[in-house]
Protein backbone atom coordinates (compact mmCIF):
# COMPACT_ATOMS: atom_id res chain seq x y z
CA UNK A 1 0.00 0.00 0.00
CA UNK A 2 1.29 3.42 -0.88
CA UNK A 3 1.29 6.07 1.78
CA UNK A 4 2.57 9.34 0.45
CA UNK A 5 3.94 11.86 2.88
CA UNK A 6 3.91 9.85 6.05
CA UNK A 7 7.68 9.50 5.99
CA UNK A 8 7.98 11.90 8.86
CA UNK A 9 6.57 9.33 11.24
CA UNK A 10 6.65 5.97 9.58
CA UNK A 11 10.36 6.27 8.75
CA UNK A 12 10.96 5.56 12.41
CA UNK A 13 9.56 2.05 12.11
CA UNK A 14 11.86 0.93 9.26
CA UNK A 15 14.50 -1.61 10.45
CA UNK A 16 17.67 0.14 11.55
CA UNK A 17 20.18 -2.61 10.79
CA UNK A 18 22.23 -1.89 7.66
CA UNK A 19 23.39 -4.68 5.33
CA UNK A 20 24.71 -2.52 2.49
CA UNK A 21 26.88 -0.21 4.51
CA UNK A 22 28.35 3.19 3.74
CA UNK A 23 31.72 3.54 2.07
CA UNK A 24 30.67 2.17 -1.30
CA UNK A 25 31.55 4.09 -4.45
CA UNK A 26 28.13 4.77 -5.93
CA UNK A 27 27.72 8.15 -7.60
CA UNK A 28 26.22 11.02 -5.71
CA UNK A 29 22.43 10.76 -5.80
CA UNK A 30 22.37 7.10 -6.86
CA UNK A 31 18.89 5.69 -6.27
CA UNK A 32 20.02 2.18 -7.12
CA UNK A 33 22.12 1.64 -3.99
CA UNK A 34 19.22 3.14 -2.05
CA UNK A 35 16.86 0.58 -3.53
CA UNK A 36 19.24 -2.29 -2.67
CA UNK A 37 19.73 -0.93 0.84
CA UNK A 38 15.98 -0.74 1.50
CA UNK A 39 15.40 -4.19 0.00
CA UNK A 40 18.09 -5.73 2.22
CA UNK A 41 16.56 -4.10 5.28
CA UNK A 42 13.32 -5.87 4.46
CA UNK A 43 15.10 -9.20 3.82
CA UNK A 44 17.08 -9.33 7.04
CA UNK A 45 20.29 -11.13 7.90
CA UNK A 46 19.42 -14.67 6.72
CA UNK A 47 20.07 -13.80 3.10
CA UNK A 48 22.47 -14.98 0.42
CA UNK A 49 23.08 -12.61 -2.47
CA UNK A 50 24.23 -13.45 -5.94
CA UNK A 51 24.95 -10.47 -8.10
CA UNK A 52 25.47 -10.08 -11.80
CA UNK A 53 28.08 -7.69 -13.11
CA UNK A 54 26.75 -4.17 -13.10
CA UNK A 55 26.82 -0.86 -11.30
CA UNK A 56 26.07 -2.36 -7.89
CA UNK A 57 28.85 -4.92 -8.20
CA UNK A 58 31.37 -2.34 -9.42
CA UNK A 59 30.68 0.21 -6.70
CA UNK A 60 30.33 -2.17 -3.80
CA UNK A 61 33.38 -4.42 -4.06
CA UNK A 62 36.51 -2.75 -5.40
CA UNK A 63 39.18 -5.25 -4.31
CA UNK A 64 39.92 -5.79 -1.41
CA UNK A 65 37.00 -3.97 0.16
CA UNK A 66 33.36 -4.93 0.41
CA UNK A 67 30.10 -3.18 1.08
CA UNK A 68 28.05 -6.24 2.05
CA UNK A 69 27.45 -7.59 5.51
CA UNK A 70 25.85 -10.67 3.96
CA UNK A 71 27.22 -13.65 2.03
CA UNK A 72 27.63 -12.23 -1.44
CA UNK A 73 28.66 -14.03 -4.62
CA UNK A 74 29.74 -12.15 -7.69
CA UNK A 75 28.97 -14.07 -10.85
CA UNK A 76 29.32 -13.34 -14.53
CA UNK A 77 26.99 -11.01 -16.37
CA UNK A 78 24.59 -13.66 -17.58
CA UNK A 79 24.13 -16.15 -14.77
CA UNK A 80 22.99 -14.47 -11.55
CA UNK A 81 19.71 -16.41 -11.68
CA UNK A 82 21.48 -19.68 -12.54
CA UNK A 83 23.81 -19.34 -9.56
CA UNK A 84 20.84 -18.46 -7.33
CA UNK A 85 19.14 -21.69 -8.39
CA UNK A 86 22.36 -23.55 -7.61
CA UNK A 87 22.44 -21.97 -4.15
CA UNK A 88 18.82 -23.01 -3.65
CA UNK A 89 19.50 -26.65 -4.55
CA UNK A 90 22.79 -26.68 -2.62
CA UNK A 91 21.10 -25.44 0.54
CA UNK A 92 18.33 -27.99 0.15
CA UNK A 93 20.86 -30.84 -0.02
CA UNK A 94 22.96 -29.49 2.86
CA UNK A 95 19.85 -29.15 5.02
CA UNK A 96 18.82 -32.68 4.10
CA UNK A 97 22.26 -34.00 5.10
CA UNK A 98 22.10 -31.98 8.30
CA UNK A 99 25.18 -29.89 7.53
CA UNK A 100 23.19 -26.67 7.60
CA UNK A 101 20.48 -26.09 10.19
CA UNK A 102 16.99 -26.13 8.72
CA UNK A 103 15.89 -22.52 8.48
CA UNK A 104 14.39 -19.97 6.14
CA UNK A 105 17.22 -18.53 4.08
CA UNK A 106 16.37 -15.93 1.47
CA UNK A 107 18.19 -16.38 -1.79
CA UNK A 108 18.35 -13.16 -3.73
CA UNK A 109 19.76 -12.55 -7.18
CA UNK A 110 20.33 -8.94 -8.14
CA UNK A 111 21.03 -7.71 -11.63
CA UNK A 112 20.91 -4.46 -13.50
CA UNK A 113 18.67 -3.94 -16.51
CA UNK A 114 21.40 -5.21 -18.84
CA UNK A 115 22.09 -8.26 -16.68
CA UNK A 116 18.36 -8.97 -16.58
CA UNK A 117 16.70 -8.08 -19.82
CA UNK A 118 19.61 -8.49 -22.27
CA UNK A 119 22.37 -10.78 -21.13
CA UNK A 120 20.84 -12.68 -18.21
CA UNK A 121 17.41 -13.29 -19.70
CA UNK A 122 17.83 -16.93 -20.60
CA UNK A 123 19.21 -18.04 -17.23
CA UNK A 124 16.49 -16.01 -15.51
CA UNK A 125 13.82 -17.63 -17.62
CA UNK A 126 15.26 -21.06 -16.84
CA UNK A 127 15.31 -20.41 -13.10
CA UNK A 128 11.68 -19.21 -13.20
CA UNK A 129 10.67 -22.26 -15.16
CA UNK A 130 12.40 -24.65 -12.73
CA UNK A 131 10.46 -22.88 -9.97
CA UNK A 132 13.36 -22.31 -7.56
CA UNK A 133 12.44 -20.43 -4.45
CA UNK A 134 14.40 -17.23 -4.90
CA UNK A 135 13.87 -13.54 -5.39
CA UNK A 136 15.19 -11.81 -8.47
CA UNK A 137 15.63 -8.07 -8.11
CA UNK A 138 16.21 -6.09 -11.27
CA UNK A 139 17.52 -2.62 -10.48
CA UNK A 140 16.68 -0.84 -13.68
CA UNK A 141 18.56 2.36 -14.48
CA UNK A 142 17.69 2.10 -18.16
CA UNK A 143 21.15 1.68 -19.74
CA UNK A 144 24.60 0.16 -19.18
CA UNK A 145 25.69 2.93 -16.83
CA UNK A 146 28.94 1.66 -15.32
CA UNK A 147 30.65 1.21 -18.66
CA UNK A 148 29.68 4.68 -19.82
CA UNK A 149 25.98 4.78 -20.70
CA UNK A 150 25.41 2.35 -23.56
CA UNK A 151 21.87 1.53 -24.60
CA UNK A 152 20.18 -1.63 -23.34
CA UNK A 153 16.85 -3.13 -24.28
CA UNK A 154 15.46 -1.41 -21.21
CA UNK A 155 16.36 2.09 -22.44
CA UNK A 156 13.19 4.09 -23.10
CA UNK A 157 12.27 5.36 -26.54
CA UNK A 158 14.09 8.54 -27.53
CA UNK A 159 16.65 8.50 -24.74
CA UNK A 160 20.18 9.63 -25.48
CA UNK A 161 22.96 7.15 -24.75
CA UNK A 162 26.46 6.94 -26.18
CA UNK A 163 25.36 4.17 -28.55
CA UNK A 164 22.11 5.87 -29.50
CA UNK A 165 23.29 9.46 -29.89
CA UNK A 166 20.81 12.03 -31.18
CA UNK A 167 21.87 14.00 -34.23
CA UNK A 168 21.03 14.52 -37.89
CA UNK A 169 20.54 10.83 -38.60
CA UNK A 170 19.12 9.63 -35.29
CA UNK A 171 16.80 10.84 -32.57
CA UNK A 172 18.19 8.72 -29.73
CA UNK A 173 17.04 5.22 -28.77
CA UNK A 174 14.86 4.08 -31.69
CA UNK A 175 13.04 1.20 -29.93
CA UNK A 176 10.61 0.98 -27.05
CA UNK A 177 11.50 -0.27 -23.59
CA UNK A 178 11.26 -4.03 -23.16
CA UNK A 179 8.47 -5.01 -20.78
CA UNK A 180 10.38 -7.31 -18.42
CA UNK A 181 7.50 -7.47 -15.94
CA UNK A 182 5.20 -8.98 -18.53
CA UNK A 183 7.89 -11.50 -19.45
CA UNK A 184 8.16 -12.51 -15.79
CA UNK A 185 4.36 -12.72 -15.45
CA UNK A 186 4.26 -14.98 -18.49
CA UNK A 187 6.30 -17.55 -16.53
CA UNK A 188 3.34 -17.99 -14.14
CA UNK A 189 5.44 -17.29 -11.06
CA UNK A 190 3.70 -16.47 -7.77
CA UNK A 191 4.86 -12.89 -7.29
CA UNK A 192 5.90 -10.12 -9.67
CA UNK A 193 5.98 -6.45 -8.77
CA UNK A 194 7.36 -3.08 -9.79
CA UNK A 195 8.76 -0.71 -7.19
CA UNK A 196 10.69 2.52 -6.88
CA UNK A 197 12.88 3.74 -4.00
CA UNK A 198 10.96 7.04 -4.08
CA UNK A 199 8.17 5.04 -2.40
CA UNK A 200 10.22 3.28 0.29
CA UNK A 201 7.37 1.70 2.29
CA UNK A 202 5.84 0.25 -0.82
CA UNK A 203 9.24 -1.18 -1.80
CA UNK A 204 9.80 -2.73 1.63
CA UNK A 205 6.30 -4.19 1.66
CA UNK A 206 6.82 -5.72 -1.77
CA UNK A 207 10.15 -7.29 -0.81
CA UNK A 208 8.47 -8.79 2.26
CA UNK A 209 5.72 -10.20 0.06
CA UNK A 210 8.32 -11.62 -2.33
CA UNK A 211 9.99 -13.26 0.68
CA UNK A 212 6.74 -15.00 1.60
CA UNK A 213 6.04 -16.17 -1.97
CA UNK A 214 5.89 -19.88 -2.59
CA UNK A 215 8.32 -19.95 -5.49
CA UNK A 216 10.30 -17.50 -7.58
CA UNK A 217 9.51 -13.81 -7.21
CA UNK A 218 10.51 -11.00 -9.53
CA UNK A 219 10.89 -7.36 -8.52
CA UNK A 220 11.51 -4.65 -11.08
CA UNK A 221 12.84 -1.53 -9.39
CA UNK A 222 13.24 1.74 -11.28
CA UNK A 223 16.44 3.40 -10.07
CA UNK A 224 17.14 6.95 -11.11
CA UNK A 225 20.73 7.39 -12.33
CA UNK A 226 21.87 11.03 -12.20
CA UNK A 227 25.04 10.21 -14.15
CA UNK A 228 23.40 8.48 -17.08
CA UNK A 229 20.13 10.36 -17.12
CA UNK A 230 21.96 13.69 -16.89
CA UNK A 231 19.87 14.91 -13.98
CA UNK A 232 20.80 16.88 -10.90
CA UNK A 233 21.96 14.50 -8.18
CA UNK A 234 19.69 15.99 -5.52
CA UNK A 235 16.55 15.25 -7.54
CA UNK A 236 16.73 11.45 -7.78
CA UNK A 237 13.81 10.83 -5.45
CA UNK A 238 11.72 13.43 -7.25
CA UNK A 239 12.39 11.90 -10.67
CA UNK A 240 11.34 8.51 -9.33
CA UNK A 241 8.07 10.03 -8.17
CA UNK A 242 7.57 11.89 -11.46
CA UNK A 243 8.09 8.64 -13.39
CA UNK A 244 5.30 7.05 -11.36
CA UNK A 245 2.98 10.06 -11.42
CA UNK A 246 3.32 10.54 -15.18
CA UNK A 247 2.44 6.90 -15.80
CA UNK A 248 5.83 6.10 -17.37
CA UNK A 249 6.60 3.59 -14.62
CA UNK A 250 3.37 2.53 -12.88
CA UNK A 251 3.62 0.69 -9.57
CA UNK A 252 1.71 -2.57 -9.50
CA UNK A 253 2.02 -6.15 -8.39
CA UNK A 254 0.92 -9.46 -9.86
CA UNK A 255 0.10 -12.15 -7.32
CA UNK A 256 -0.54 -15.54 -8.94
CA UNK A 257 -1.66 -13.85 -12.13
CA UNK A 258 -3.92 -11.28 -10.46
CA UNK A 259 -2.93 -7.69 -11.18
CA UNK A 260 -3.27 -5.06 -8.48
CA UNK A 261 -2.41 -1.39 -8.75
CA UNK A 262 -0.34 -0.18 -5.78
CA UNK A 263 -0.88 3.48 -6.45
CA UNK A 264 -3.29 5.22 -8.74
CA UNK A 265 -1.56 8.49 -9.68
CA UNK A 266 -4.49 9.85 -11.68
CA UNK A 267 -4.81 12.46 -13.02
CA UNK A 268 -1.51 11.59 -14.73
CA UNK A 269 1.10 14.30 -15.08
CA UNK A 270 2.17 15.02 -18.66
CA UNK A 271 5.37 13.13 -19.54
CA UNK A 272 7.05 16.48 -20.17
CA UNK A 273 7.06 17.02 -16.37
CA UNK A 274 9.21 13.89 -16.13
CA UNK A 275 11.39 14.67 -19.16
CA UNK A 276 12.06 18.25 -18.12
CA UNK A 277 15.55 18.53 -16.65
CA UNK A 278 16.71 15.16 -17.93
CA UNK A 279 19.64 15.64 -20.29
CA UNK A 280 18.97 12.35 -22.04
CA UNK A 281 15.59 13.61 -23.33
CA UNK A 282 16.69 17.19 -24.07
CA UNK A 283 16.81 16.74 -27.84
CA UNK A 284 13.26 15.40 -28.21
CA UNK A 285 11.00 17.42 -30.46
CA UNK A 286 7.27 17.90 -29.82
CA UNK A 287 6.49 15.27 -32.41
CA UNK A 288 8.36 12.56 -30.50
CA UNK A 289 7.10 13.71 -27.12
CA UNK A 290 3.57 13.48 -28.47
CA UNK A 291 4.29 9.95 -29.66
CA UNK A 292 5.67 8.95 -26.24
CA UNK A 293 2.74 10.59 -24.46
CA UNK A 294 0.24 8.66 -26.55
CA UNK A 295 2.02 5.36 -25.96
CA UNK A 296 2.30 6.04 -22.20
CA UNK A 297 -1.45 6.74 -21.95
CA UNK A 298 -2.24 3.62 -23.92
CA UNK A 299 -0.03 1.42 -21.73
CA UNK A 300 -1.54 2.98 -18.63
CA UNK A 301 -5.08 2.30 -19.86
CA UNK A 302 -4.11 -1.29 -20.70
CA UNK A 303 -2.69 -1.76 -17.23
CA UNK A 304 -5.81 -0.28 -15.68
CA UNK A 305 -7.91 -2.79 -17.57
CA UNK A 306 -5.67 -5.62 -16.33
CA UNK A 307 -5.98 -4.36 -12.75
CA UNK A 308 -9.72 -3.90 -13.06
CA UNK A 309 -9.55 -0.19 -12.16
CA UNK A 310 -12.01 2.12 -13.85
Amino acid sequence: MIMPNIELYAANVIPKEEYAVSGHRACQGCAEILAVRLALKALGRDTILTMATGCMEIVSTPFPTTDWKLPWIHVAFENAAAVASGVDIGLKILMKKGKVKKSDINIVAIGGDGGTSDIGLQSLSGAFERYHKFIYICVDNEAYMNTGVQRSSSTPFGAMTTTSPPGKLSMGQPTWKKNMVKIAVAHNIPYVATACPSYPFDLIEKVKKAKMADGPAYLHILSVCPTGWRTASDLSIRYGRLAVESGVFPLYEVENGTYRLSLNPEPLRPVTDYFKGQGRFRHLTDEYIDKIQKRTIKEWEDLKTLCGVK
Binding site: M3, I6, Y9, A10, K16, D46, R238, R241, E245
Partner: protein
Protein backbone atom coordinates in the same frame (compact mmCIF):
# COMPACT_ATOMS: atom_id res chain seq x y z
CA UNK B 1 29.63 -7.03 30.16
CA UNK B 2 27.53 -10.12 30.75
CA UNK B 3 28.36 -13.55 29.34
CA UNK B 4 25.87 -16.35 28.87
CA UNK B 5 25.10 -19.08 26.35
CA UNK B 6 22.40 -19.44 23.72
CA UNK B 7 22.07 -22.96 22.34
CA UNK B 8 25.59 -23.67 23.59
CA UNK B 9 27.14 -20.63 21.93
CA UNK B 10 28.83 -18.09 24.18
CA UNK B 11 27.45 -14.58 23.68
CA UNK B 12 28.12 -11.22 25.25
CA UNK B 13 25.61 -8.55 26.13
CA UNK B 14 25.47 -5.36 28.13
CA UNK B 15 23.52 -5.18 31.34
CA UNK B 16 19.85 -4.32 31.02
CA UNK B 17 19.43 -5.88 27.58
CA UNK B 18 16.78 -8.52 26.99
CA UNK B 19 17.48 -11.94 25.54
CA UNK B 20 15.58 -11.49 22.27
CA UNK B 21 17.53 -8.56 20.76
CA UNK B 22 20.82 -10.26 21.73
CA UNK B 23 19.76 -13.56 20.15
CA UNK B 24 18.58 -11.86 16.94
CA UNK B 25 21.87 -9.96 16.75
CA UNK B 26 23.78 -13.21 17.13
CA UNK B 27 21.76 -14.81 14.34
CA UNK B 28 19.43 -17.12 16.24
CA UNK B 29 16.02 -17.71 14.78
CA UNK B 30 13.36 -16.70 17.29
CA UNK B 31 9.97 -15.70 15.86
CA UNK B 32 8.37 -12.55 17.18
CA UNK B 33 5.46 -10.33 16.25
CA UNK B 34 5.09 -7.73 19.01
CA UNK B 35 8.75 -6.83 19.42
CA UNK B 36 9.85 -3.82 17.41
CA UNK B 37 13.28 -2.25 17.16
CA UNK B 38 11.93 1.28 17.46
CA UNK B 39 9.30 0.51 20.09
CA UNK B 40 10.97 -2.13 22.22
CA UNK B 41 9.37 -5.15 23.85
CA UNK B 42 5.86 -5.62 25.13
CA UNK B 43 5.49 -9.34 25.76
CA UNK B 44 2.10 -9.65 24.10
CA UNK B 45 2.41 -12.21 21.31
CA UNK B 46 4.38 -14.73 23.41
CA UNK B 47 5.75 -16.72 20.51
CA UNK B 48 9.31 -15.68 21.35
CA UNK B 49 9.39 -18.11 24.27
CA UNK B 50 12.74 -19.73 25.17
CA UNK B 51 13.93 -21.99 27.94
CA UNK B 52 16.25 -20.42 30.49
CA UNK B 53 18.33 -22.56 32.81
CA UNK B 54 19.59 -20.74 35.87
CA UNK B 55 21.56 -22.98 38.16
CA UNK B 56 19.48 -26.13 38.40
CA UNK B 57 16.16 -24.46 37.65
CA UNK B 58 14.58 -24.44 34.21
CA UNK B 59 11.87 -22.04 33.10
CA UNK B 60 10.02 -21.14 29.94
CA UNK B 61 10.09 -17.35 29.55
CA UNK B 62 9.31 -14.74 26.91
CA UNK B 63 12.75 -13.81 25.63
CA UNK B 64 11.74 -10.24 24.76
CA UNK B 65 11.17 -9.38 28.43
CA UNK B 66 13.79 -11.52 30.18
CA UNK B 67 16.88 -9.53 31.14
CA UNK B 68 20.21 -11.16 30.44
CA UNK B 69 22.23 -12.41 33.40
CA UNK B 70 25.63 -13.99 33.93
CA UNK B 71 25.83 -17.71 33.39
CA UNK B 72 22.29 -18.43 32.24
CA UNK B 73 21.82 -21.10 29.60
CA UNK B 74 19.23 -20.22 26.96
CA UNK B 75 17.74 -22.77 24.61
CA UNK B 76 15.76 -21.54 21.62
CA UNK B 77 14.63 -24.93 20.33
CA UNK B 78 14.31 -27.32 23.26
CA UNK B 79 11.30 -29.69 22.97
CA UNK B 80 9.42 -27.82 25.73
CA UNK B 81 9.98 -24.52 23.95
CA UNK B 82 8.65 -25.90 20.69
CA UNK B 83 5.58 -27.31 22.47
CA UNK B 84 4.73 -23.96 24.08
CA UNK B 85 5.45 -22.03 20.91
CA UNK B 86 3.26 -24.36 18.92
CA UNK B 87 0.35 -24.01 21.34
CA UNK B 88 0.67 -20.22 21.30
CA UNK B 89 0.76 -20.20 17.52
CA UNK B 90 -2.24 -22.50 17.42
CA UNK B 91 -4.22 -20.09 19.61
CA UNK B 92 -3.13 -17.07 17.59
CA UNK B 93 -3.93 -18.84 14.36
CA UNK B 94 -7.37 -19.81 15.65
CA UNK B 95 -7.97 -16.16 16.47
CA UNK B 96 -6.80 -14.76 13.11
CA UNK B 97 -6.90 -17.45 10.40
CA UNK B 98 -6.75 -14.76 7.70
CA UNK B 99 -3.35 -13.37 8.73
CA UNK B 100 -0.73 -14.52 6.20
CA UNK B 101 2.14 -14.04 8.67
CA UNK B 102 0.53 -16.45 11.12
CA UNK B 103 -0.20 -18.94 8.37
CA UNK B 104 3.46 -18.83 7.39
CA UNK B 105 4.66 -19.29 10.98
CA UNK B 106 2.15 -22.07 11.63
CA UNK B 107 3.46 -23.92 8.61
CA UNK B 108 7.06 -23.36 9.68
CA UNK B 109 6.51 -24.71 13.20
CA UNK B 110 4.32 -27.57 12.11
CA UNK B 111 0.91 -26.49 13.41
CA UNK B 112 -1.21 -28.74 11.21
CA UNK B 113 -4.68 -28.96 12.62
CA UNK B 114 -6.02 -26.27 14.89
CA UNK B 115 -8.00 -27.77 17.76
CA UNK B 116 -9.97 -24.64 18.56
CA UNK B 117 -12.87 -23.13 16.65
CA UNK B 118 -11.68 -20.32 14.39
CA UNK B 119 -12.73 -16.73 14.94
CA UNK B 120 -13.86 -14.71 12.00
CA UNK B 121 -14.77 -11.42 13.65
CA UNK B 122 -11.28 -10.41 14.79
CA UNK B 123 -9.78 -9.69 11.38
CA UNK B 124 -6.01 -10.02 11.51
CA UNK B 125 -5.55 -8.28 14.86
CA UNK B 126 -3.56 -10.22 17.47
CA UNK B 127 -3.68 -7.40 20.07
CA UNK B 128 0.08 -6.89 19.93
CA UNK B 129 -0.16 -3.23 20.96
CA UNK B 130 2.35 -2.06 18.31
CA UNK B 131 -0.07 0.37 16.62
CA UNK B 132 -1.03 1.89 19.96
CA UNK B 133 2.59 2.32 20.96
CA UNK B 134 3.56 3.70 17.53
CA UNK B 135 0.73 6.24 17.73
CA UNK B 136 1.71 7.33 21.24
CA UNK B 137 5.50 7.12 21.11
CA UNK B 138 6.45 7.84 17.50
CA UNK B 139 3.65 10.11 16.32
CA UNK B 140 2.70 11.47 19.70
CA UNK B 141 -1.05 11.83 19.30
CA UNK B 142 -2.37 8.74 21.19
CA UNK B 143 -5.47 8.32 19.06
CA UNK B 144 -5.70 4.56 19.67
CA UNK B 145 -6.27 2.31 22.64
CA UNK B 146 -7.70 -0.99 23.76
CA UNK B 147 -11.37 -1.26 24.54
CA UNK B 148 -13.30 -4.06 26.17
CA UNK B 149 -12.00 -7.05 28.06
CA UNK B 150 -11.47 -10.71 27.37
CA UNK B 151 -13.27 -11.94 24.27
CA UNK B 152 -14.39 -8.50 23.14
CA UNK B 153 -11.05 -6.74 23.63
CA UNK B 154 -10.03 -4.81 20.56
CA UNK B 155 -7.92 -1.93 19.31
CA UNK B 156 -9.98 1.09 18.46
CA UNK B 157 -10.37 4.82 18.81
CA UNK B 158 -11.96 6.09 22.06
CA UNK B 159 -15.61 4.96 22.41
CA UNK B 160 -15.35 3.36 18.98
CA UNK B 161 -16.19 6.72 17.42
CA UNK B 162 -14.32 8.67 14.73
CA UNK B 163 -11.35 10.15 16.50
CA UNK B 164 -10.67 13.86 16.83
CA UNK B 165 -6.98 13.38 17.59
CA UNK B 166 -6.12 10.96 14.77
CA UNK B 167 -4.17 12.73 12.02
CA UNK B 168 -4.48 9.88 9.47
CA UNK B 169 -0.68 9.61 9.15
CA UNK B 170 -0.78 5.84 8.69
CA UNK B 171 2.14 5.02 10.99
CA UNK B 172 -0.04 2.31 12.59
CA UNK B 173 -0.57 0.74 9.16
CA UNK B 174 3.18 0.53 8.51
CA UNK B 175 3.94 -0.78 11.99
CA UNK B 176 1.21 -3.46 12.13
CA UNK B 177 2.91 -6.89 11.84
CA UNK B 178 -0.12 -8.68 10.41
CA UNK B 179 -1.63 -6.05 8.11
CA UNK B 180 -4.90 -5.68 10.00
CA UNK B 181 -5.44 -1.93 9.78
CA UNK B 182 -7.41 -0.69 6.81
CA UNK B 183 -6.44 2.50 5.04
CA UNK B 184 -7.57 3.72 1.65
CA UNK B 185 -7.01 6.85 -0.39
CA UNK B 186 -9.69 7.56 -2.91
CA UNK B 187 -10.59 10.75 -4.77
CA UNK B 188 -9.12 13.11 -2.21
CA UNK B 189 -10.42 11.27 0.85
CA UNK B 190 -8.44 8.98 3.12
CA UNK B 191 -10.43 6.42 5.08
CA UNK B 192 -8.81 5.07 8.24
CA UNK B 193 -10.27 4.04 11.61
CA UNK B 194 -13.81 4.49 10.28
CA UNK B 195 -13.27 8.19 9.61
CA UNK B 196 -12.91 10.05 6.35
CA UNK B 197 -10.07 12.59 6.25
CA UNK B 198 -9.84 15.15 3.45
CA UNK B 199 -6.50 15.14 1.63
CA UNK B 200 -4.72 18.40 0.93
CA UNK B 201 -4.71 19.48 -2.69
CA UNK B 202 -1.49 20.98 -3.98
CA UNK B 203 -2.17 24.51 -5.31
CA UNK B 204 0.52 24.07 -8.02
CA UNK B 205 -0.37 20.71 -9.58
CA UNK B 206 -3.80 20.09 -8.00
CA UNK B 207 -2.84 16.60 -6.85
CA UNK B 208 -3.90 15.17 -3.50
CA UNK B 209 -0.85 14.41 -1.42
CA UNK B 210 -1.37 14.26 2.37
CA UNK B 211 -4.17 14.54 4.94
CA UNK B 212 -4.91 18.13 5.98
CA UNK B 213 -4.92 17.08 9.66
CA UNK B 214 -1.44 15.62 9.36
CA UNK B 215 -0.08 18.75 7.70
CA UNK B 216 -1.64 20.90 10.43
CA UNK B 217 -0.03 18.67 13.06
CA UNK B 218 3.39 18.79 11.35
CA UNK B 219 3.05 22.55 11.06
CA UNK B 220 2.28 22.77 14.78
CA UNK B 221 5.18 20.52 15.79
CA UNK B 222 7.83 21.88 13.44
CA UNK B 223 6.68 25.52 13.12
CA UNK B 224 6.81 25.30 9.32
CA UNK B 225 3.99 27.47 7.91
CA UNK B 226 1.01 25.44 6.71
CA UNK B 227 1.06 27.21 3.32
CA UNK B 228 4.50 25.68 2.60
CA UNK B 229 3.34 22.21 3.57
CA UNK B 230 0.17 22.42 1.46
CA UNK B 231 2.36 22.44 -1.67
CA UNK B 232 3.31 18.87 -2.55
CA UNK B 233 6.89 17.62 -2.35
CA UNK B 234 7.35 17.65 -6.11
CA UNK B 235 6.28 21.27 -6.53
CA UNK B 236 7.87 22.61 -3.34
Amino acid sequence: MIEFTIDGKKVKATEGEFILPVALREGFDIPTLCHHEALGSDGRCRICVVEVKRGSRKRIVTSCLYPVADGIEVSTNAPDVMLVRKSVLELLYARCPEAEVLGHLAKKYGVENVRYSKDHDKGKCILCNICIRACAEIVGVSALGFSGKGMSKKVTTPFDEPSDTCIACGACVVACPTGHIFMKDDKGVRTIWKKKFPLAQCPECSRFHAPVEQLQYISKVTNVPLETLMVCQDCR
